[in-house]
């Protein structure tokens, strides 16, 4: 099992029409940036939601991380736009 759980929030969630999914990590996908590229390659709503120019943030296991951050099986990875609380 090389599954990761992916969560989507705010405009990302709305654009792809789901708030979470579990996927098997494809071979060679070991960073947040690589996962983002993989999701973009699915085409359709994913292609625009994860477009290179889309301003996105990511968290791994509920810590905000940079695109180069490593991911591994069992992680919870989240994608969302820059935060606007407070």
């Amino acid at each position: 099992m090389k599954n990761v759980r992916i969560l989507y929030f705010a405009s990302v969630r709305e654009n792809i029409g789901k708030d979470a999914e579990e996927i098997e990590l494809p071979a060679g996908v070991a960073t947040v940036a690589a996962l983002r590229s993989h999701l973009r390659s699915r085409g359709g709503a994913y292609e625009s939601a994860f477009a290179e120019k889309a301003l996105l943030r990511a968290a791994v296991n509920q810590d905000m991380v940079q695109p180069a951050a490593a991911i591994k099986a069992g992680d919870e990875v989240a994608f969302f736009p820059p935060v606007t609380g407070g």
């Binding site: 968290a59 509920q62 969302f80 736009p81 609380g85 407070g86």
Partner: protein, 142 residues
């Protein structure tokens, strides 16, 4: 330390009173309340990460200033103009620490805590865009 992420409103007076009576060494409580301006909105958040992110911000404030206790409450869900959104209250021996830690926590909340505002404007609902000014406010503490 109290961190709460909740739908319900909060009571500033009661929260600051709880903080104030922790110790007779507390001489200063700085607090901040953020309110909805003009437009109804819905606040989405990332349950679990939100509390964790706020706790990390508070821990960082405690490492930088003399903070005796603090309370952070952030609401989510549907809010209307004038509703309270967020409370940050910091108790310290002296006012300089209380003010600095309170403003620091707010600035970091704005850029690091996973909340998203969707405003209900006349034309429909739209996600609020992050402000460069908020990034700058957070960066000045680095």
């Amino acid at each position: 330390m109290k961190v709460a992420v909740q739908r319900e409103d909060f009571d500033l007076g009661a929260e600051v009173q709880d903080l104030s009576k922790q110790s007779q060494s507390i001489g200063a409580v700085a607090s901040f309340v953020g309110l909805v301006r003009e437009v109804p909105m819905t606040l989405e958040h990332y349950p679990g990460m939100t509390e964790r992110a706020i706790a990390k911000i508070v821990a960082e404030a405690k490492g930088r200033w003399q903070v005796m206790d603090c309370t952070v409450i952030h609401r989510y869900g549907a809010l209307k103009p004038n509703d309270r959104i967020v409370l940050v209250a910091v108790a310290s021996a002296h006012r300089g620490d209380a003010f600095a830690a309170c403003e620091f926590i707010m600035d970091y909340l704005k850029t690091r805590a996973p909340f998203w505002k969707k405003e209900q404007v006349a034309a429909g609902a739209r996600w609020v865009e992050a402000k460069a000014a908020d990034d700058q406010a957070a960066e000045r503490w680095q």
